[in-house]
């Protein structure tokens, strides 16, 4: 029987000839991720110390956003001290706020710098693996420079071990680069969606710059100049820069390859291409005019095309401006202002150091297990054309330790002759609520991981197991609580063995959905 979703080959969903050309170049170049056997399994942000300038490694090794490997073990938090913004984006509606909604620009309560500093200490004490404090809005941190830098000043005084980070649209960035350097902000993210004002005018209706409101092409031209100038100034000062780009099909999807080239040549460390989130209920221009976001495979094809010498970030969760915890989780509700007021906060740097030393051991064990498995896989000499995606239910620590029904996201790994590589994640509503699974939810979960051959879980009920099998996705609980990448490669080795013996036939899978709606399954 024909499955509901047609199997679409990667080549069929890349309409842009430019993209195709680029993909060919990438294939020739053997970009990161294809250098099997060297122990370097995946690109850039997953690099270990052996591939990296020690100074850079020191900056990224426990930053969950700048290191894919770190994001399994270390947590971050954002403090919402910057409500004002100086530009309007068509994917953002600043009136919208919902505690169950998880995406950038959304926040439940704004904080003063003093409240924020107290919150940071409270979280740092409760979550000792929280290593990074970011300011990401809900507006633009650099449109609120006094509040932003006051917050950094307070935190660097009380918790000097915490890395400081900010995320900006870049419009006023050149004016603040010296202050950023002065406050030891290690990491700056700039959202750059275009390097061509013709395209920019369809993304930004206006900007407020030097006491004037600019619209149309002129607004986009100024924004673009300021963003690239800011990026150059930061890289000159050796401040690590990540560039975020929102992929908007039909507007900038093909153009992002050019953006990638432009930011790479200006020294950006990492490029994060994110899917547009747009639903009518968000009240954004794109939400209301029906602008769609990309599918999972469209996004992956673009990320793959941009991945050459440039590190691509694929583990971004597009989190809230007040998020707390590991990237895949959000514990912000535990740290509301009234709860923090009631807490007795004692900042103990020694406990944090001890805990982080333990985390470091855990992380090293994960890396060692992966390397060993990779060597086994290399001996198998798998043909180039066999690759697959697998979805993983995890609560962190680099292990398969979440029940299928409790997962609010699945991490996606690509397996090939080169080993395993983290290529993304899919957010879903919990399938299991109070022990009962809901069939509608199961269908959306299956759509979200429809491009995967298998799903790795700690445990799974009989019903979803059968439905997954019927959809062609193998539910795997044999590796419960073991390391993710080691297990995935072991599974892949077995799979390749079965293909060779003729027991199964290797087929490519279809595309998958990227979730758009409100995150209603918050605990």
């Amino acid at each position: 029987m024909q499955a509901k979703t047609a199997y679409v080959g990667l080549d069929q969903i890349k309409p842009a000839p430019a993209l195709n050309r680029l993909l060919e170049q990438v294939a020739e170049h053997k970009g990161c991720g294809t250098s099997g056997g060297s122990g370097k399994a995946s690109c850039g942000s997953a690099d270990g110390p052996q591939d990296m300038d020690p100074a850079v490694w020191e900056k990224v090794k426990n930053h969950p956003c700048y290191s894919e490997e770190a994001h399994h073990h270390y947590a971050r938090m954002h403090v919402a001290v910057a409500p004002a913004c100086n530009i309007q984006c068509n994917y953002c509606n600043r009136k919208y706020d919902c505690a169950n909604e998880s995406r950038p620009g959304v926040v439940s309560e704004k904080l003063t710098p003093e409240q924020a500093a107290k919150k940071v200490l409270a979280v740092a004490s409760a979550i000792p693996q929280m290593t990074v404090l970011g300011i990401a809005g809900p507006g633009d941190p650099l449109a609120n420079p006094a509040k932003t830098f006051k917050t950094f000043e307070l935190i660097s005084r009380t918790a000097p071990d915490i890395k400081l980070c900010l995320s900006t649209n870049g419009l006023t960035l050149p004016d603040h680069v010296d202050a950023i350097a002065r406050y030891n902000v290690d990491h700056v993210t700039i959202t750059i969606n275009m390097v061509d004002p013709e395209i920019g005018q369809h993304i930004y209706p206006w900007i407020y710059y030097r006491n004037r409101r600019y619209t149309g092409i002129e607004a986009a031209r100024i924004l673009n100049e300021r963003q690239l100038q800011g990026l150059e100034m930061l890289t000159e000062r050796k401040i690590l820069c990540k560039v975020n780009s929102v992929m908007i099909p039909g507007i900038n999807d093909r153009h992002l390859v050019e953006v990638n080239r432009a930011v790479k040549s200006r020294g950006a460390f990492l490029h994060n291409i994110m899917p547009l989130i747009s639903a009518p209920e968000h009240g954004t221009v794109f939400g209301l005019n029906g602008q769609r976001g990309p599918t999972a495979q469209e996004l992956k094809a673009l990320q793959d095309a941009c991945e050459g010498e440039m590190n691509m970030m694929r583990h971004c969760r597009q989190c809230r401006a007040d998020a707390v915890g590991l990237l895949g989780e959000d514990r912000s509700a535990e740290f509301s202002t009234d709860k923090i007021d009631a807490m007795e906060v004692r900042y103990d740097a020694q406990t944090r150091r001890d805990y982080q030393a333990a985390v470091e051991l855990e992380r090293q064990a994960t890396v060692d297990a992966k390397r060993k498995e990779q060597e086994e896989l290399a001996q198998l000499a798998v043909a180039d054309d066999i690759s697959m995606l697998v979805a993983v239910a995890t609560k962190g620590h680099g292990r398969i330790n979440e029940h299928f029904g409790h997962a609010s996201e699945f991490q996606v790994y690509e397996l090939s002759h080169a080993g395993s590589k983290f290529v993304g994640h899919r957010r879903v509503d919990h399938y299991c609520q109070g022990g009962y699974g809901e069939e509608d939810t199961l269908a959306t979960v299956i759509r979200a991981i429809n491009d995967c051959h298998a799903v790795f879980v700690a445990k799974i009920g009989g019903c979803p197991r059968d439905d997954l099998k019927a959809a062609g996705i193998d539910p795997v609980d044999a590796y419960a609580h073991q390391y993710i990448e080691q297990s995935a490669m072991a599974y892949f080795r077995e799979y390749v063995g079965k293909v060779r013996s003729g027991e199964i036939v290797h087929l490519s899978r279809g595309d998958a959905d990227i979730r758009q709606g409100a995150y209603v399954a918050a605990a």
């Binding site: 409500p83 100086n86 006094a146 407020y208 004037r212």
Partner: protein
């Protein structure tokens, strides 16, 4: 006249407050208000009223017709 902020539409983002050349804007009960006695509609300062230019919600900073037109001091 002076400008006023329609509080039901104000997101309380605070963007207008530091831009006002007359320090006429302050937070009050979770929203922002313009002191009509201080507002000069930005005449003599800028080409356009700064609160209007920076406000993320259209038609939220508007002329308050309860006050007479602001006259630039000679």
């Amino acid at each position: 006249m002076a400008y006023k902020i329609i509080s039901s539409q104000c997101t309380a983002c605070s963007a207008c407050e530091p831009e006002c050349p007359n320090v006429a804007i302050r937070e009050k009960n979770g929203t922002y208000v313009i002191d009509p006695k201080k507002c000069t509609e930005c005449l003599g300062h800028f080409d356009e009223p700064q609160c209007v230019a920076v406000c993320p919600v259209d038609n939220t900073c508007v002329i308050d017709k309860a006050y007479p037109r602001y006259q630039a001091q000679a």
